[in-house]
């Protein structure tokens, strides 16, 4: 299911810790309540974003999806900036 989002981050090809680091940089530029979509190929990013959501005070992990695109697994995360 496609979710609506305000900004998109293409984190394909990035390795740990870059999907999380770049997502933080994008989130810093967002307004409270806006949603960032992150598309990653790093399979660790699934657990990394869950770990982040556990300690985060200013973001919320809305949804995570794994999509198969021509044999490549894409890990998609939807993150909402909090107040």
């Amino acid at each position: 299911m496609e979710m609506t989002f305000d900004k998109e981050l293409d984190a394909r090809g990035m390795n740990c810790p870059m999907p999380v680091v770049m997502a933080r940089k994008e989130i810093m530029a967002l307004e409270a309540g806006q949603i960032l979509k992150i598309t990653a190929t790093d399979r660790g990013s699934i657990k990394d974003f869950q770990g982040w959501a556990k300690v985060a005070k200013d973001m919320e992990l809305l949804d995570q999806q794994t999509v198969d695109e021509n044999g490549t697994h894409l890990y998609i995360h939807y993150v909402k900036k909090g107040a």
Partner: protein, 192 residues
Amino acid sequence: MPVDNIATTPGPAETTGLGERLDALESRIAELEEAQPEDKVSMVVFSGDLDRVLASFVIATGAAAMGQKVDMFFTFWGLTALKKDTQLSDKRLFQKMMGVMAPGSSKNLPASRMNYFGIGAKMLRAMMKQENVQSLEEMMQLARDLGVTFIACDMSQNVMGIRDEELIDDIEHGGVGTFLGSALTAKSSLFI
């Protein structure tokens, strides 16, 4: 008066001293809040090995991205990761020797295993590049962008004869009290 109203209406005996008990409770809560660890990670970077320093910066940038304050204390061999320059004039013999033999900057850090006079470290960097992993220098810049604090240990700087001018700019200086002040109020502290 209905029977069930009797239990919910406090009598004079139950309200006496309630104000003091509330005050005591409030000050206890304030004490507990003060004792709560902060959203912070404190690290000692003791090692000057490329792989270990790299691991420190992966954790540091990750933690900073996750909204944690990060303090990194560089001591002994870890200081070589912060070097930008080597000056030999006006140094004692051993400190001069150390200046010549120790890595002159982060670019010259050895690998902890299979270094073989620097070939191992070069190989490791090439492998990281192939796998699209950020270089140590890029990681360090990212850490700075995310607000990670770098603190150089004064005592080891003196022992190793490393002057402030030989280290990169915009770093803090401190000692064991600085580290413990940070570590004891942090949620996590690491020695690498």
